[in-house]
């Protein structure tokens, strides 16, 4: 049996809208992954530390507040500093197209916008980690 994929689902910033994060966490778990959910109001430092401790292959950030341009680059920077660039960073939420392109250029593996299907997210993670 292959080891299950380990994913950290994280809610950075001040936003409390956790419906999406919780739905994704359950969907990934139903798809056979091991999911750790950080809960609310995580700083980039807390998220990267949790990812290191939990030894995850994927970090999923849920951001709906418009703060992604402040938060995501900082997470990428910390991953590089800690030599964790092999961890795939996936972002979901209200991310305008232009910002999504920029984030992907900076190193984000995928950006999932509203309406993205759970299946497409599961499939992406399986392919990216394989």
């Amino acid at each position: 049996m292959p080891q299950p994929i380990r994913v950290l689902v994280a809610k950075p910033g001040l936003d409390g809208h956790d419906r999406g994060a919780k739905v994704i966490a359950r969907a990934l778990r139903d798809a056979g992954m091991e999911v750790i959910y950080t809960g609310l109001r995580q700083t980039p430092e807390m998220i990267v530390n949790a990812a290191l401790q939990e030894d995850v292959q994927v970090i999923g950030l849920s951001i709906l507040s418009g703060a992604h341009n402040a938060i995501v680059p900082r997470v990428l920077e910390l991953l590089r500093e800690k030599d964790m660039s092999d961890v795939k960073l996936v972002v979901g939420g209200i991310i305008p197209d232009e910002d999504a392109e920029n984030l992907k250029r900076d190193g984000v593996a995928a950006v999932f916008q509203p309406g993205a299907s759970l299946d497409s997210i599961v499939t992406f993670i399986r392919t990216a980690v394989a």
């Binding site: 418009g66 992604h68 299946d119």
Partner: protein, 530 residues
Amino acid sequence: MKTTERQHTTTSGVPVDPLYGPEQLAGFDPSRELGPPGEFPYTRGIHRDMYRGRLWTMRQFSGFATPEETNRRYHYLLEQGQTGLSVAFDLPTLMGYDPDHPMSPGEVGKCGVSIASLEDMEILFRGIPLGEVTVSMTINSPASVLWAMYLAVAEQQGADWTRLSGTLQNDILKEYIAQKEFIFPPRPSMRLVTDTIEFGAKRTPRFNPVSISGYHIREAGSTAVQELAFTLRDGIEYVDWALERGLEVDEFAPRLSFFFNAHNDFFEEIAKYRAARKIWASVMRERYGARSERSWKLRFHAQTAGCSLTWQQPYNNVVRTAVQALAAVLGGAQSLHTNSLDEAYALPSEHAVTIALRTQQVLAYESGVANTPDPLGGSYFLEKLTLDTEAAANDYIRRIDGMGGMIAAIETGFPQTEIAAASYRYQREIEDGERTIVGVNRFQSGDEPIELLQIDETTGRRQEEKVAALRARRNNAEAQRTLDALKGAAEGAENTMPYILDAVRAYATLGEICEALRAVFGSYQETTRL
């Protein structure tokens, strides 16, 4: 054309029979279940003439960037015929942080307007007479602080507090349940809410100190019944605390107001509003022995469902919103916010918010639905749905009573897990194609690009500079004195409102005031449940 099983259930998953007729309403006594509009149990509405007497208040929720920019939007909305204001605050304000707090970068002015001090509140309402315009404020954990700023601005304008009319959301229970913008633990938070109810009953008799909100519960993914039940049970909790404080029920209950979602399922939503009035009237009269009819009447604001808006084919959102708004009106709402077509992407542009307001004006002035109260009353289907919704909500209310009340239920995670399960079920139904979302999982086509409101990235810096300049300019000794006095009051049992007013008038900032309260009350961390 394929029809699936799921199309014969409501949005909340309640099965719908093939046909409704008298057999589903056997034993139905209209005089007991309905009564005339304006009479107990108010199923048909809280006024005899409903919208013939006065239309609902058209109140668009609005706020972004700096108070200067939001003030300009308010003047625009009032010029366009909007009849009340509704303030959206940004996340740092909702969490009681100043713009220069380490948690604030990237968030200032993004989801609403940034208000850090009385100075910002003065700018927000510049040129807007608070004695005449009614204002609703969506603020919860630090609600008493923002309300104190508002009252201080009204005072500066020479407005009489006893004539001020408006609404403070101030519903902390639904924050723990759904919206999650909490600062302090539940019990000290409830004490702050009770302080505002008590202060309001004595000093601002026309202001609604709490708007008990199902909106966010529904947005978090609950069913219609859960939205209704948890909201009304929250209302019961506030009443219990106010009674415990020593207030008479009829002294404060008439000023409790409610806030519900208007989601996709037309009849389910109308049934929800009718059942809400009916249950609350009984709770007030039977459970609490309220004697004033004003205590029995459930007044509510409605907002169309933000979570129903789609990123794909955004113009379809205008149609969704119109249908949802129609449900709110047929359900007897006292005020209404219609979402803008671009809100799956961003805060609304001026163009989009104008269409949303025009949607309400078309309903009010062209559709004819405002001509007679509860025009759908007597529909077999609607009456059956209303009865079923009432019964299902009462079941939940009894279960929560059995747990020892809403705070105990929140502490065990009961409403949170019920909502998470419902939201996951709903998402799976969309995923499996059992539930159709037009333009998302069926009828897809290319998306038309739309113009979006851009929040100026310098907002954060400008707000930081403003608060720094204020701290340099004000009398710091006086600000510190008021903060110390507030801490003393918080440690004791006195009403905190007069102390918060003093701190606000001394230009202590929101962050400083909340920090003083954090020092006494502590902060709340929820136990995360999936």
